[in-house]
Symmetry: C2
Amino acid sequence: MNDLRDDRAIAVEALIRYLECRDQVSAYERNLLANLSMRFKAFGKGEELVVEHSRPNESCLVLSGFTGREVMLKDGTRQITAVHIPGDFVDLHALLLKLMDHSVVALTEVHAAYVPHQELVRISEAAPHLSRLLWLSTVVDGAIQRAWIACIGRRKPLHHLGHLICELSVRLNAVGLAPRHSFDFPVTQAQLADVLGMSLVQVNRTLQALRRTGLVSWKASTVTIHDFAALAELCDFDPIYLNLINEPR
Amino acid sequence: MNDLRDDRAIAVEALIRYLECRDQVSAYERNLLANLSMRFKAFGKGEELVVEHSRPNESCLVLSGFTGREVMLKDGTRQITAVHIPGDFVDLHALLLKLMDHSVVALTEVHAAYVPHQELVRISEAAPHLSRLLWLSTVVDGAIQRAWIACIGRRKPLHHLGHLICELSVRLNAVGLAPRHSFDFPVTQAQLADVLGMSLVQVNRTLQALRRTGLVSWKASTVTIHDFAALAELCDFDPIYLNLINEPR
DNA sequence: CGTCAGATTGATATTCATCAAGATCGGTGG
DNA sequence: CCACCGATCTTGATGAATATCAATCTGACG
Protein backbone atom coordinates (compact mmCIF):
# COMPACT_ATOMS: atom_id res chain seq x y z
CA MET A 1 0.00 0.00 0.00
CA ASN A 2 1.18 3.52 -0.70
CA ASP A 3 2.19 5.59 2.27
CA LEU A 4 -0.07 8.46 3.16
CA ARG A 5 2.08 11.18 1.65
CA ASP A 6 1.79 9.50 -1.73
CA ASP A 7 -1.96 9.03 -1.42
CA ARG A 8 -2.46 12.66 -0.56
CA ALA A 9 -0.38 13.86 -3.49
CA ILE A 10 -2.25 11.52 -5.81
CA ALA A 11 -5.63 12.66 -4.56
CA VAL A 12 -4.89 16.35 -4.88
CA GLU A 13 -3.34 15.92 -8.30
CA ALA A 14 -6.25 13.81 -9.53
CA LEU A 15 -8.78 16.36 -8.41
CA ILE A 16 -6.89 19.29 -9.88
CA ARG A 17 -6.40 17.44 -13.14
CA TYR A 18 -10.14 16.76 -13.27
CA LEU A 19 -11.02 20.39 -12.64
CA GLU A 20 -8.40 21.65 -15.07
CA CYS A 21 -10.06 19.78 -17.89
CA ARG A 22 -12.86 22.33 -17.50
CA ASP A 23 -11.35 25.57 -16.19
CA GLN A 24 -8.22 27.17 -14.77
CA VAL A 25 -7.39 26.47 -11.15
CA SER A 26 -5.56 29.37 -9.49
CA ALA A 27 -2.59 28.99 -7.15
CA TYR A 28 -4.81 30.08 -4.27
CA GLU A 29 -7.34 27.40 -5.13
CA ARG A 30 -4.66 24.74 -5.53
CA ASN A 31 -3.40 25.63 -2.14
CA LEU A 32 -6.83 25.24 -0.59
CA LEU A 33 -7.15 21.80 -2.14
CA ALA A 34 -3.66 20.77 -1.13
CA ASN A 35 -4.50 21.55 2.49
CA LEU A 36 -7.74 19.61 2.67
CA SER A 37 -7.64 17.05 5.41
CA MET A 38 -8.21 13.55 4.10
CA ARG A 39 -8.32 9.97 5.16
CA PHE A 40 -7.64 7.10 2.78
CA LYS A 41 -9.14 3.70 2.38
CA ALA A 42 -8.83 0.70 0.07
CA PHE A 43 -11.77 -1.43 -1.04
CA GLY A 44 -12.10 -4.87 -2.61
CA LYS A 45 -14.45 -5.65 -5.47
CA GLY A 46 -18.04 -5.34 -4.34
CA GLU A 47 -17.36 -3.42 -1.15
CA GLU A 48 -19.32 -0.26 -0.41
CA LEU A 49 -17.56 3.10 -0.29
CA VAL A 50 -20.76 4.88 0.65
CA VAL A 51 -23.76 3.12 2.13
CA GLU A 52 -27.39 3.69 1.16
CA HIS A 53 -29.48 5.45 3.82
CA SER A 54 -26.37 6.60 5.67
CA ARG A 55 -25.65 10.23 6.51
CA PRO A 56 -22.04 10.78 5.49
CA ASN A 57 -20.12 13.63 7.03
CA GLU A 58 -17.38 13.34 4.48
CA SER A 59 -17.27 13.05 0.70
CA CYS A 60 -15.34 10.53 -1.26
CA LEU A 61 -12.91 10.85 -4.16
CA VAL A 62 -11.73 7.89 -6.28
CA LEU A 63 -7.96 7.55 -6.60
CA SER A 64 -7.76 4.30 -8.52
CA GLY A 65 -10.20 1.71 -9.81
CA PHE A 66 -13.80 1.92 -10.91
CA THR A 67 -16.83 2.54 -8.73
CA GLY A 68 -20.52 2.49 -9.47
CA ARG A 69 -23.65 3.96 -7.99
CA GLU A 70 -25.91 1.09 -7.17
CA VAL A 71 -29.67 1.10 -6.82
CA MET A 72 -31.17 -2.13 -5.50
CA LEU A 73 -34.82 -2.75 -6.29
CA LYS A 74 -37.10 -4.70 -4.03
CA ASP A 75 -37.39 -7.53 -6.54
CA GLY A 76 -33.67 -8.12 -6.07
CA THR A 77 -32.53 -6.70 -9.39
CA ARG A 78 -29.84 -4.09 -9.47
CA GLN A 79 -29.19 -1.05 -11.61
CA ILE A 80 -25.90 0.77 -11.70
CA THR A 81 -26.70 4.40 -12.47
CA ALA A 82 -23.19 5.74 -12.86
CA VAL A 83 -19.62 4.53 -13.31
CA HIS A 84 -16.89 6.63 -11.76
CA ILE A 85 -13.24 6.68 -12.70
CA PRO A 86 -10.09 7.85 -10.92
CA GLY A 87 -10.22 11.57 -10.23
CA ASP A 88 -14.02 11.66 -9.89
CA PHE A 89 -15.29 13.26 -6.72
CA VAL A 90 -17.89 10.50 -6.52
CA ASP A 91 -19.75 11.49 -3.49
CA LEU A 92 -19.61 15.22 -3.58
CA HIS A 93 -23.37 15.53 -3.55
CA ALA A 94 -23.58 13.89 -0.16
CA LEU A 95 -22.43 17.28 1.04
CA LEU A 96 -25.86 18.61 0.09
CA LEU A 97 -28.08 15.56 -0.05
CA LYS A 98 -27.35 14.64 3.57
CA LEU A 99 -29.11 11.30 3.33
CA MET A 100 -27.85 8.81 0.72
CA ASP A 101 -30.50 7.45 -1.63
CA HIS A 102 -28.10 4.88 -3.08
CA SER A 103 -24.78 3.15 -2.44
CA VAL A 104 -21.43 3.61 -4.10
CA VAL A 105 -19.72 0.26 -4.62
CA ALA A 106 -16.29 -0.77 -5.81
CA LEU A 107 -16.57 -2.42 -9.23
CA THR A 108 -12.87 -3.30 -9.05
CA GLU A 109 -10.17 -2.85 -6.42
CA VAL A 110 -10.45 0.78 -5.39
CA HIS A 111 -8.45 3.37 -3.50
CA ALA A 112 -10.39 6.34 -2.23
CA ALA A 113 -9.90 9.52 -0.24
CA TYR A 114 -12.47 10.99 2.13
CA VAL A 115 -12.76 14.73 2.75
CA PRO A 116 -14.82 16.09 5.69
CA HIS A 117 -17.88 18.08 4.70
CA GLN A 118 -16.94 20.96 6.93
CA GLU A 119 -13.83 21.52 4.84
CA LEU A 120 -15.90 21.60 1.68
CA VAL A 121 -18.30 24.07 3.23
CA ARG A 122 -15.29 26.17 4.14
CA ILE A 123 -14.23 26.13 0.49
CA SER A 124 -17.69 27.20 -0.57
CA GLU A 125 -17.38 30.19 1.77
CA ALA A 126 -13.79 31.09 0.96
CA ALA A 127 -13.50 30.37 -2.73
CA PRO A 128 -16.63 30.96 -4.79
CA HIS A 129 -14.97 30.11 -8.07
CA LEU A 130 -13.55 26.83 -6.79
CA SER A 131 -16.92 26.13 -5.31
CA ARG A 132 -18.48 26.61 -8.74
CA LEU A 133 -15.99 24.12 -10.17
CA LEU A 134 -17.05 21.54 -7.61
CA TRP A 135 -20.65 22.36 -8.42
CA LEU A 136 -19.75 21.85 -12.07
CA SER A 137 -18.45 18.38 -11.35
CA THR A 138 -21.84 17.35 -9.96
CA VAL A 139 -23.55 18.97 -12.92
CA VAL A 140 -21.39 17.00 -15.35
CA ASP A 141 -22.43 13.83 -13.51
CA GLY A 142 -25.99 14.89 -14.20
CA ALA A 143 -25.24 15.37 -17.89
CA ILE A 144 -23.78 11.87 -18.05
CA GLN A 145 -26.86 10.47 -16.38
CA ARG A 146 -29.06 12.14 -18.97
CA ALA A 147 -27.01 10.54 -21.71
CA TRP A 148 -27.47 7.20 -19.99
CA ILE A 149 -31.23 7.65 -19.77
CA ALA A 150 -31.29 8.22 -23.51
CA CYS A 151 -29.09 5.16 -24.04
CA ILE A 152 -31.19 2.83 -21.92
CA GLY A 153 -34.47 4.22 -23.13
CA ARG A 154 -33.95 4.50 -26.84
CA ARG A 155 -30.71 3.04 -28.16
CA LYS A 156 -30.22 -0.46 -29.44
CA PRO A 157 -28.00 -2.66 -27.26
CA LEU A 158 -25.08 -2.50 -29.67
CA HIS A 159 -25.16 1.28 -29.78
CA HIS A 160 -25.67 1.53 -26.06
CA LEU A 161 -22.62 -0.59 -25.34
CA GLY A 162 -20.55 1.25 -27.91
CA HIS A 163 -21.66 4.57 -26.51
CA LEU A 164 -20.55 3.52 -23.05
CA ILE A 165 -17.15 2.50 -24.36
CA CYS A 166 -16.72 5.80 -26.15
CA GLU A 167 -17.69 7.68 -23.01
CA LEU A 168 -15.29 5.77 -20.80
CA SER A 169 -12.48 6.16 -23.28
CA VAL A 170 -12.94 9.92 -23.48
CA ARG A 171 -13.29 10.37 -19.73
CA LEU A 172 -10.30 8.16 -18.98
CA ASN A 173 -8.26 9.83 -21.65
CA ALA A 174 -8.93 13.22 -20.06
CA VAL A 175 -7.16 12.04 -16.91
CA GLY A 176 -4.41 10.22 -18.80
CA LEU A 177 -5.72 6.69 -18.39
CA ALA A 178 -6.68 5.80 -21.94
CA PRO A 179 -3.78 6.43 -24.30
CA ARG A 180 -4.65 5.63 -27.92
CA HIS A 181 -8.24 4.77 -26.97
CA SER A 182 -7.14 1.74 -25.02
CA PHE A 183 -7.88 1.21 -21.36
CA ASP A 184 -8.21 -1.36 -18.64
CA PHE A 185 -11.77 -2.09 -17.54
CA PRO A 186 -11.81 -5.17 -15.34
CA VAL A 187 -15.54 -5.73 -14.86
CA THR A 188 -17.54 -8.90 -15.42
CA GLN A 189 -20.30 -9.20 -17.95
CA ALA A 190 -22.74 -9.52 -15.04
CA GLN A 191 -21.67 -6.10 -13.74
CA LEU A 192 -21.91 -4.71 -17.23
CA ALA A 193 -25.46 -6.04 -17.45
CA ASP A 194 -26.40 -4.00 -14.40
CA VAL A 195 -24.78 -0.94 -15.94
CA LEU A 196 -26.59 -1.33 -19.25
CA GLY A 197 -29.91 -2.51 -17.87
CA MET A 198 -29.75 -5.74 -19.88
CA SER A 199 -29.56 -9.43 -19.06
CA LEU A 200 -26.23 -11.17 -18.79
CA VAL A 201 -26.85 -13.21 -21.92
CA GLN A 202 -27.78 -10.12 -23.87
CA VAL A 203 -24.56 -8.44 -22.82
CA ASN A 204 -22.53 -11.42 -23.93
CA ARG A 205 -24.16 -11.46 -27.36
CA THR A 206 -23.96 -7.72 -27.78
CA LEU A 207 -20.29 -7.87 -26.93
CA GLN A 208 -19.80 -10.44 -29.65
CA ALA A 209 -21.69 -8.33 -32.13
CA LEU A 210 -19.51 -5.37 -31.20
CA ARG A 211 -16.36 -7.42 -31.73
CA ARG A 212 -17.65 -8.50 -35.12
CA THR A 213 -17.82 -4.86 -36.20
CA GLY A 214 -14.05 -4.88 -35.86
CA LEU A 215 -14.13 -1.45 -34.26
CA VAL A 216 -13.41 -2.62 -30.74
CA SER A 217 -11.58 -5.46 -29.11
CA TRP A 218 -12.15 -6.43 -25.50
CA LYS A 219 -9.70 -9.11 -24.44
CA ALA A 220 -9.14 -10.04 -20.81
CA SER A 221 -9.89 -6.70 -19.17
CA THR A 222 -8.39 -4.49 -21.85
CA VAL A 223 -10.70 -2.51 -24.09
CA THR A 224 -9.22 -1.12 -27.28
CA ILE A 225 -11.08 1.06 -29.74
CA HIS A 226 -9.51 0.57 -33.14
CA ASP A 227 -11.39 3.29 -34.95
CA PHE A 228 -12.79 5.81 -32.55
CA ALA A 229 -14.37 8.06 -35.17
CA ALA A 230 -16.20 5.14 -36.75
CA LEU A 231 -17.39 3.83 -33.41
CA ALA A 232 -18.60 7.27 -32.35
CA GLU A 233 -20.43 7.62 -35.66
CA LEU A 234 -21.99 4.18 -35.36
CA CYS A 235 -23.17 4.76 -31.81
CA ASP A 236 -24.21 8.38 -32.23
CA PHE A 237 -21.69 9.46 -29.60
CA ASP A 238 -21.17 13.20 -29.21
CA PRO A 239 -18.76 14.08 -26.36
CA ILE A 240 -20.26 17.51 -25.87
CA TYR A 241 -22.15 16.36 -22.76
CA LEU A 242 -18.89 15.55 -20.98
CA ASN A 243 -18.05 19.24 -20.98
CA LEU A 244 -14.37 18.69 -21.56
CA ILE A 245 -13.75 22.26 -22.60
CA ASN A 246 -11.47 24.53 -20.66
CA GLU A 247 -13.24 27.85 -20.23
CA PRO A 248 -14.15 30.27 -17.46
CA ARG A 249 -17.05 29.04 -15.34
CA MET B 1 -51.33 37.41 -19.66
CA ASN B 2 -50.19 38.49 -16.21
CA ASP B 3 -48.51 41.84 -15.93
CA LEU B 4 -44.82 41.80 -15.14
CA ARG B 5 -45.17 42.65 -11.47
CA ASP B 6 -47.29 39.53 -11.01
CA ASP B 7 -44.86 37.35 -12.92
CA ARG B 8 -41.94 38.55 -10.86
CA ALA B 9 -43.73 37.92 -7.58
CA ILE B 10 -44.76 34.46 -8.77
CA ALA B 11 -41.25 33.59 -9.85
CA VAL B 12 -39.60 34.68 -6.64
CA GLU B 13 -42.20 32.97 -4.51
CA ALA B 14 -41.98 29.76 -6.51
CA LEU B 15 -38.22 29.65 -6.16
CA ILE B 16 -38.26 30.40 -2.44
CA ARG B 17 -40.97 27.81 -1.88
CA TYR B 18 -38.85 25.26 -3.71
CA LEU B 19 -35.77 26.04 -1.66
CA GLU B 20 -37.70 26.15 1.59
CA CYS B 21 -38.77 22.55 1.11
CA ARG B 22 -35.10 21.73 1.75
CA ASP B 23 -33.67 24.42 4.04
CA GLN B 24 -34.30 27.81 5.64
CA VAL B 25 -33.96 30.87 3.44
CA SER B 26 -32.83 33.94 5.39
CA ALA B 27 -34.25 37.42 4.95
CA TYR B 28 -30.98 38.46 3.34
CA GLU B 29 -31.18 35.62 0.86
CA ARG B 30 -34.82 36.34 0.09
CA ASN B 31 -33.89 39.89 -0.62
CA LEU B 32 -31.17 38.83 -3.05
CA LEU B 33 -33.64 36.64 -4.89
CA ALA B 34 -36.32 39.32 -4.91
CA ASN B 35 -33.92 41.70 -6.61
CA LEU B 36 -32.83 39.36 -9.39
CA SER B 37 -33.46 40.86 -12.77
CA MET B 38 -35.70 38.69 -14.89
CA ARG B 39 -37.44 38.55 -18.18
CA PHE B 40 -40.57 36.53 -18.80
CA LYS B 41 -41.79 34.49 -21.67
CA ALA B 42 -44.72 32.23 -22.55
CA PHE B 43 -44.41 29.07 -24.64
CA GLY B 44 -46.89 26.88 -26.48
CA LYS B 45 -46.81 23.09 -26.40
CA GLY B 46 -43.69 21.79 -28.12
CA GLU B 47 -41.78 25.08 -28.17
CA GLU B 48 -38.21 25.18 -26.93
CA LEU B 49 -37.31 27.16 -23.82
CA VAL B 50 -33.63 26.31 -24.19
CA VAL B 51 -32.10 25.16 -27.44
CA GLU B 52 -29.58 22.32 -27.83
CA HIS B 53 -26.06 23.44 -28.75
CA SER B 54 -26.81 27.02 -27.74
CA ARG B 55 -24.76 28.98 -25.20
CA PRO B 56 -27.30 30.55 -22.89
CA ASN B 57 -26.30 33.59 -20.87
CA GLU B 58 -29.34 33.28 -18.67
CA SER B 59 -31.00 30.45 -16.78
CA CYS B 60 -34.63 29.58 -16.89
CA LEU B 61 -37.19 28.98 -14.15
CA VAL B 62 -40.62 27.38 -14.78
CA LEU B 63 -43.56 29.39 -13.44
CA SER B 64 -46.42 27.30 -14.77
CA GLY B 65 -46.83 24.21 -16.91
CA PHE B 66 -44.60 21.21 -17.51
CA THR B 67 -41.31 21.13 -19.36
CA GLY B 68 -39.05 18.29 -20.37
CA ARG B 69 -35.41 17.83 -21.24
CA GLU B 70 -35.31 16.36 -24.69
CA VAL B 71 -32.55 14.31 -26.27
CA MET B 72 -33.01 13.61 -29.97
CA LEU B 73 -31.16 10.62 -31.39
CA LYS B 74 -29.94 10.45 -34.93
CA ASP B 75 -32.42 7.70 -35.78
CA GLY B 76 -35.18 10.22 -35.11
CA THR B 77 -36.33 8.77 -31.80
CA ARG B 78 -36.62 10.99 -28.80
CA GLN B 79 -36.00 10.50 -25.10
CA ILE B 80 -37.19 12.89 -22.45
CA THR B 81 -34.69 12.69 -19.62
CA ALA B 82 -36.46 14.87 -17.07
CA VAL B 83 -39.84 16.45 -16.42
CA HIS B 84 -39.88 19.80 -14.66
CA ILE B 85 -42.71 21.35 -12.72
CA PRO B 86 -43.51 24.90 -11.66
CA GLY B 87 -40.87 26.23 -9.28
CA ASP B 88 -38.06 24.17 -10.83
CA PHE B 89 -35.01 26.17 -11.84
CA VAL B 90 -34.83 24.05 -14.98
CA ASP B 91 -31.81 25.41 -16.60
CA LEU B 92 -29.63 26.33 -13.69
CA HIS B 93 -26.80 24.09 -14.88
CA ALA B 94 -26.42 26.11 -18.04
CA LEU B 95 -24.66 28.54 -15.72
CA LEU B 96 -21.83 26.03 -15.48
CA LEU B 97 -22.23 23.82 -18.54
CA LYS B 98 -21.95 26.78 -20.91
CA LEU B 99 -22.89 24.71 -23.96
CA MET B 100 -26.27 22.93 -23.92
CA ASP B 101 -26.14 19.21 -24.64
CA HIS B 102 -29.94 18.98 -24.89
CA SER B 103 -33.07 21.10 -25.31
CA VAL B 104 -35.73 22.04 -22.81
CA VAL B 105 -39.17 21.89 -24.39
CA ALA B 106 -42.63 22.86 -23.23
CA LEU B 107 -44.72 19.73 -22.70
CA THR B 108 -47.76 21.95 -22.08
CA GLU B 109 -48.38 25.68 -22.17
CA VAL B 110 -45.57 27.16 -20.11
CA HIS B 111 -44.65 30.43 -18.46
CA ALA B 112 -41.00 30.89 -17.64
CA ALA B 113 -38.63 33.45 -16.16
CA TYR B 114 -35.05 33.98 -17.33
CA VAL B 115 -32.31 35.17 -14.96
CA PRO B 116 -28.96 36.44 -16.31
CA HIS B 117 -25.98 34.29 -15.42
CA GLN B 118 -24.00 37.21 -14.14
CA GLU B 119 -26.60 37.70 -11.41
CA LEU B 120 -26.30 34.08 -10.40
CA VAL B 121 -22.53 34.35 -10.29
CA ARG B 122 -22.98 37.39 -8.08
CA ILE B 123 -25.10 35.31 -5.71
CA SER B 124 -22.44 32.63 -5.64
CA GLU B 125 -19.93 35.28 -4.54
CA ALA B 126 -22.16 37.11 -2.10
CA ALA B 127 -24.19 34.35 -0.51
CA PRO B 128 -22.43 31.00 -0.12
CA HIS B 129 -25.34 29.37 1.65
CA LEU B 130 -27.86 30.43 -0.96
CA SER B 131 -25.39 29.29 -3.56
CA ARG B 132 -25.31 25.86 -1.92
CA LEU B 133 -29.09 25.75 -2.06
CA LEU B 134 -29.01 26.40 -5.80
CA TRP B 135 -26.31 23.76 -6.09
CA LEU B 136 -28.60 21.45 -4.14
CA SER B 137 -31.37 21.97 -6.64
CA THR B 138 -29.14 20.68 -9.44
CA VAL B 139 -28.06 17.78 -7.26
CA VAL B 140 -31.68 16.83 -6.60
CA ASP B 141 -32.23 16.82 -10.36
CA GLY B 142 -29.37 14.34 -10.53
CA ALA B 143 -30.96 12.15 -7.87
CA ILE B 144 -34.19 12.11 -9.85
CA GLN B 145 -32.29 11.12 -12.98
CA ARG B 146 -30.70 8.21 -11.14
CA ALA B 147 -34.14 7.04 -10.07
CA TRP B 148 -35.23 7.25 -13.70
CA ILE B 149 -32.27 5.20 -14.87
CA ALA B 150 -33.26 2.49 -12.42
CA CYS B 151 -36.87 2.72 -13.62
CA ILE B 152 -36.07 2.46 -17.32
CA GLY B 153 -33.38 -0.14 -16.84
CA ARG B 154 -34.96 -2.53 -14.40
CA ARG B 155 -38.59 -1.86 -13.59
CA LYS B 156 -41.56 -3.38 -15.34
CA PRO B 157 -43.64 -0.91 -17.34
CA LEU B 158 -46.47 -0.87 -14.80
CA HIS B 159 -44.12 -0.10 -11.94
CA HIS B 160 -42.24 2.43 -13.98
CA LEU B 161 -45.39 4.35 -14.81
CA GLY B 162 -46.66 4.12 -11.25
CA HIS B 163 -43.31 5.29 -9.94
CA LEU B 164 -43.44 8.32 -12.20
CA ILE B 165 -46.92 9.18 -10.99
CA CYS B 166 -45.85 8.89 -7.36
CA GLU B 167 -42.86 11.10 -8.03
CA LEU B 168 -44.87 13.78 -9.77
CA SER B 169 -47.49 13.74 -7.08
CA VAL B 170 -44.94 14.21 -4.32
CA ARG B 171 -43.02 16.91 -6.17
CA LEU B 172 -46.18 18.79 -7.11
CA ASN B 173 -47.57 18.44 -3.63
CA ALA B 174 -44.43 20.05 -2.21
CA VAL B 175 -45.21 23.20 -4.15
CA GLY B 176 -48.93 23.07 -3.46
CA LEU B 177 -50.06 21.71 -6.82
CA ALA B 178 -51.25 18.22 -5.91
CA PRO B 179 -53.74 18.38 -3.08
CA ARG B 180 -54.99 14.95 -2.02
CA HIS B 181 -52.68 13.24 -4.52
CA SER B 182 -54.58 14.67 -7.46
CA PHE B 183 -53.03 16.84 -10.13
CA ASP B 184 -53.38 18.07 -13.67
CA PHE B 185 -50.94 16.52 -16.14
CA PRO B 186 -52.01 17.42 -19.66
CA VAL B 187 -49.58 15.35 -21.74
CA THR B 188 -50.35 12.95 -24.55
CA GLN B 189 -49.54 9.26 -24.43
CA ALA B 190 -46.97 9.87 -27.16
CA GLN B 191 -45.14 12.34 -24.92
CA LEU B 192 -45.40 9.89 -22.06
CA ALA B 193 -43.85 7.23 -24.26
CA ASP B 194 -40.79 9.42 -24.75
CA VAL B 195 -40.60 9.99 -21.01
CA LEU B 196 -40.83 6.31 -20.18
CA GLY B 197 -38.74 5.00 -23.05
CA MET B 198 -41.60 2.83 -24.32
CA SER B 199 -43.68 2.68 -27.47
CA LEU B 200 -46.96 4.51 -27.67
CA VAL B 201 -48.95 1.28 -27.73
CA GLN B 202 -47.12 -0.01 -24.69
CA VAL B 203 -47.95 3.17 -22.80
CA ASN B 204 -51.59 2.86 -23.68
CA ARG B 205 -51.76 -0.72 -22.45
CA THR B 206 -49.77 -0.02 -19.33
CA LEU B 207 -52.10 2.84 -18.52
CA GLN B 208 -55.04 0.49 -18.81
CA ALA B 209 -53.33 -2.03 -16.57
CA LEU B 210 -52.68 0.70 -14.04
CA ARG B 211 -56.33 1.76 -14.11
CA ARG B 212 -57.35 -1.84 -13.55
CA THR B 213 -55.40 -1.89 -10.29
CA GLY B 214 -57.91 0.68 -9.07
CA LEU B 215 -55.12 2.66 -7.41
CA VAL B 216 -55.05 5.47 -9.94
CA SER B 217 -57.47 7.15 -12.28
CA TRP B 218 -56.33 9.28 -15.18
CA LYS B 219 -59.28 10.94 -16.88
CA ALA B 220 -58.90 13.78 -19.33
CA SER B 221 -55.71 15.34 -18.02
CA THR B 222 -56.37 14.78 -14.33
CA VAL B 223 -54.38 12.16 -12.48
CA THR B 224 -55.75 11.00 -9.14
CA ILE B 225 -54.03 8.53 -6.86
CA HIS B 226 -56.69 6.82 -4.77
CA ASP B 227 -54.36 4.95 -2.46
CA PHE B 228 -50.94 6.50 -2.40
CA ALA B 229 -49.44 4.10 0.13
CA ALA B 230 -50.56 1.09 -1.88
CA LEU B 231 -49.27 2.56 -5.14
CA ALA B 232 -45.93 3.42 -3.58
CA GLU B 233 -45.69 -0.10 -2.19
CA LEU B 234 -46.61 -1.66 -5.53
CA CYS B 235 -44.12 0.42 -7.47
CA ASP B 236 -41.31 0.34 -4.92
CA PHE B 237 -41.42 4.12 -4.60
CA ASP B 238 -39.33 5.63 -1.81
CA PRO B 239 -39.41 9.46 -1.81
CA ILE B 240 -36.07 9.73 -0.05
CA TYR B 241 -34.32 10.64 -3.32
CA LEU B 242 -36.41 13.78 -3.68
CA ASN B 243 -34.72 15.18 -0.59
CA LEU B 244 -37.83 16.89 0.69
CA ILE B 245 -36.45 17.34 4.17
CA ASN B 246 -35.89 20.76 5.65
CA GLU B 247 -32.46 20.79 7.26
CA PRO B 248 -29.30 22.88 7.22
CA ARG B 249 -27.26 22.40 4.05
C1' DC C 1 -6.18 -32.62 -11.17
C1' DG C 2 -10.23 -30.47 -9.25
C1' DT C 3 -12.59 -26.29 -8.38
C1' DC C 4 -14.63 -22.11 -9.26
C1' DA C 5 -15.79 -17.84 -11.39
C1' DG C 6 -16.75 -16.19 -15.53
C1' DA C 7 -17.87 -16.65 -20.47
C1' DT C 8 -20.44 -18.82 -24.02
C1' DT C 9 -24.16 -21.29 -26.34
C1' DG C 10 -28.75 -23.16 -27.58
C1' DA C 11 -33.59 -23.58 -26.71
C1' DT C 12 -37.78 -21.56 -25.22
C1' DA C 13 -41.23 -18.35 -23.55
C1' DT C 14 -42.30 -13.72 -22.81
C1' DT C 15 -42.31 -9.07 -23.69
C1' DC C 16 -42.44 -5.46 -26.60
C1' DA C 17 -42.28 -2.66 -30.98
C1' DT C 18 -44.46 -2.12 -35.04
C1' DC C 19 -48.13 -1.93 -38.31
C1' DA C 20 -52.70 -1.10 -39.48
C1' DA C 21 -57.34 -0.11 -38.48
C1' DG C 22 -60.96 1.74 -36.00
C1' DA C 23 -63.12 4.56 -32.15
C1' DT C 24 -63.58 8.76 -29.59
C1' DC C 25 -63.50 13.45 -28.66
C1' DG C 26 -63.33 18.43 -29.17
C1' DG C 27 -63.59 21.97 -32.07
C1' DT C 28 -64.98 24.23 -36.54
C1' DG C 29 -67.66 25.86 -40.25
C1' DG C 30 -71.75 25.42 -43.01
C1' DC D 1 -77.68 21.68 -35.12
C1' DC D 2 -74.99 18.71 -37.59
C1' DA D 3 -71.29 16.97 -40.58
C1' DC D 4 -66.59 16.94 -40.78
C1' DC D 5 -61.80 17.02 -39.42
C1' DG D 6 -57.62 16.22 -37.02
C1' DA D 7 -55.59 14.75 -32.90
C1' DT D 8 -55.59 11.32 -29.71
C1' DC D 9 -56.73 7.05 -27.86
C1' DT D 10 -57.71 2.17 -28.38
C1' DT D 11 -57.45 -2.47 -30.25
C1' DG D 12 -55.84 -6.68 -32.68
C1' DA D 13 -52.41 -9.06 -35.16
C1' DT D 14 -47.68 -10.07 -36.14
C1' DG D 15 -42.82 -10.61 -35.82
C1' DA D 16 -38.64 -9.17 -33.67
C1' DA D 17 -36.12 -8.47 -29.57
C1' DT D 18 -35.06 -9.94 -25.15
C1' DA D 19 -35.22 -12.49 -20.68
C1' DT D 20 -34.82 -16.73 -18.82
C1' DC D 21 -33.30 -21.36 -18.18
C1' DA D 22 -29.98 -24.83 -18.51
C1' DA D 23 -25.92 -26.59 -20.04
C1' DT D 24 -21.25 -26.46 -21.46
C1' DC D 25 -16.81 -24.39 -22.03
C1' DT D 26 -12.58 -21.89 -20.51
C1' DG D 27 -8.87 -20.31 -17.90
C1' DA D 28 -6.76 -19.21 -13.44
C1' DC D 29 -5.22 -21.18 -9.45
C1' DG D 30 -4.37 -23.96 -5.38
